[in-house]
């Protein structure tokens, strides 16, 4: 039963291909079918996931703010995304006078493509990776870096000063957080010795049958380098995704909506969708690198486990979004270059140390932990001290004698 659930998608896929072959369809058609089915299924499921997520985000933030959130359309407002979609589709598509019409049209398309493409690389469940290459982690970053250009195109083509400012901010932000992002992912690659996401996930799986929560103890998160790497990766990822508190590129209180100020209707919906899809993809990547990917208890199908982990990470993002104010541009850059990047680099050193030291016995483990902690904790304290110079002073207030 669990196996059927777990491998249901895979088995159905094999069955369809088998039927197609039995029917005597030409080889190229079968090949095309084998390519098309995963694409269609992934897009359908994760686009549905995206719609649900917009609803969930509004609901979660509403609860944090003592509101109800959407509750008019359908039970618990569940059909709100449908209504939003219809509205976006029927809304007038405004293109500002003086805009570069071709690029204005192209930008939302370009921004969606990488957001969807990266799903091909993710192990979405056991035996459920569409494209299993040797370099999938690197390829993920390579593909998602395209969205930077899309944001620039959107800002430039809109012919609006706010858009231009937003585009500039987006680019500056993305190139400063690209490095900590990649360096944050590097420890996991180093230890496993492969850039293949499937191999990284497998390395975090149960080493023997019947382990707690499918080998939760083997998650990379529970190592010193894993913890630091995950935190650096997660923060840099939030910046990369333009999530609050790093949403300066569209900071609505400053530059209206940044690069998508001049977008309406379905084009705007595409930007929105790309943002959410990349959020999901990024959460999936983060869970694959550090949280054991689809590994979970045996009674849950593997794809559901990944879903839950994605939800967990996204919930944390929503929580942060509804709590923290936005950083300023220079503070954002300073945080990346002066704090996150050095920490990530030192973390790589700590990973190397951990990898070299023996970890067979308990004493060995203690030594390895101690060594990694000895590298990481002073670095953290030093960086915190170096960065916390000017701001955040204690203030004392007095009362006027009137």
């Amino acid at each position: 039963m669990t196996v059927t659930l777990d491998q249901g998608f895979v088995q159905a896929y094999q069955w369809i291909l088998g039927v197609a072959r039995d029917l005597g369809l030409p080889v190229w058609l079968v090949t095309l079918l084998s390519l098309a089915i995963p694409v269609v299924v992934v897009i359908a499921i994760y686009a549905g996931f995206f719609a649900f997520l917009t609803w969930l985000e509004r609901k979660v933030i509403s609860r944090i703010q003592n509101r109800y959130g959407p509750n008019r359309v359908g039970p618990f407002g569940l059909f709100q995304p449908v209504a939003d979609g219809i509205k976006a589709l029927t809304k007038e598509d405004v293109i500002p006078a003086g805009a570069d019409r071709l690029l204005h049209w192209l930008a939302p398309c370009v921004v969606v493509v990488p957001a969807i493409t990266v799903y091909a690389l993710l192990p979405l469940g056991r035996n459920m990776t569409a494209v299993d290459t040797d370099v999938s982690v690197l390829l993920f970053f390579a593909i998602s870096s395209v969205s930077t250009l899309a944001l620039f195109i959107a800002g430039w083509a809109s012919h609006n000063k706010y858009s231009m400012l937003g585009a500039m901010r987006a680019i500056a932000q993305m190139i400063s957080y690209e490095l900590p992002l990649v360096l944050g992912a590097l420890p996991a690659i180093m230890v496993v010795g492969s850039m293949n996401l499937g191999a990284i996930v497998k390395a975090q799986g149960p080493q023997a049958t019947g382990e707690l929560f499918g080998g939760i103890a083997h998650w990379n998160l529970w190592t010193p380098w894993g913890f630091v790497g995950f935190v650096a990766f997660f923060i840099a990822g939030m910046a990369e995704l333009n999530r609050s508190p790093f949403d300066i590129a569209e900071g609505e209180s400053e530059i209206i909506a940044g690069f998508h100020t001049e977008y309406s209707g379905f084009k705007f919906a595409l930007f929105f969708m790309a943002e959410y899809l990349s959020t999901i993809a990024f959460s999936a990547l983060a869970s694959s690198l550090y949280l054991g990917g689809w590994n979970g208890p045996a009674f849950l199908p593997s794809w559901l486990v990944l879903f839950l982990k994605i939800f967990g990470l996204i919930f944390v993002m929503m929580w942060i979004r509804s709590t923290l104010p936005r950083l300023r541009v220079d503070q954002l850059m300073a945080f990346s270059w002066k704090f996150l990047l050095p920490l990530a680099i030192v973390n790589i050193f700590a990973t190397g140390l951990w990898h070299v030291l023996p970890r067979a016995t308990l004493a060995d483990k203690a030594v390895a932990w101690g060594a990694a902690a000895l590298v990481l904790i002073p670095t953290y304290l030093l960086l915190a001290k170096l960065n916390g110079g000017r701001a955040t002073e204690q203030r004392r207030y007095r009362y006027a004698d009137l």
Binding site: W28, T31, D100, L102, L103, L106, T133, D134, V135, L138, L139, F141, A142, I143, S145, V146, T148, L149, F152, I153, W156, A157, M164, A167, M168, I171, M174, I175, E178, M195
Partner: protein, 171 residues
């Protein structure tokens, strides 16, 4: 014509179109987009030739970094209006195009005269790990030199761009 050949022809068309666009379009952002298309075409060709790692690095470096650098240059120089006309064929331009055509024709001519070798059908077994090993053993010196070069370029770029900024403020 099998699928590989069809793919090759398509990719070549895309690549050449991208290159032509980048060298002929006057609107800078559009030329840049065309360049990105070209980069992607080349990366796809690398993938086709089973050099996955190089393909990925191609996208990462060219699209993720070089193209973004170009974006910065475009924005910082506000060069939208200054994109120069290519329509008028002044003598120097004609000479340039002719020269390039001669070089291209020469290269193609040489290639066509040599005996053709079909690419081996067997795919090489994963290049990523061997490349990593080679970089750490036989090619360690070039690897280190490259990293020094990158550092020098980084510092140099910062210095060049900074110095002037300060002058402008003090002026």
């Amino acid at each position: 014509m099998d699928i590989a050949q069809l793919g090759f022809v398509l990719l070549s068309a895309v690549t050449i179109a991208g290159a032509l666009g980048a060298t002929t379009i006057n609107d800078l952002p559009r030329a840049l987009l065309s360049l990105v298309l070209f980069f992607f075409g080349v990366a796809a060709l690398f993938f086709m030739l089973h050099a996955e790692f190089i393909g990925v690095v191609q996208v990462l470096v060219y699209v993720g970094a070089v193209a973004v650098l170009f974006v910065f240059a475009i924005v910082l120089t506000r060069a939208r209006l200054q994109a120069t006309e290519i329509g008028r064929l002044v003598p120097s331009r004609v000479l340039g195009i002719l020269g390039a055509a001669v070089v291209g024709a020469g290269l193609v001519g040489v290639v066509v005269r040599t005996t053709d070798v079909p690419l081996p059908a067997v795919a090489p077994l994963g290049t990523t790990a061997p490349i990593g090993e080679a970089l750490m053993t036989r090619y360690l010196l070039p690897f280190e030199i490259a990293s020094v070069l990158l550092t020098a370029a980084l510092i140099g770029a910062v210095v060049i761009a900074l110095e002037d900024g300060e002058q402008r403020r003090s002026a």
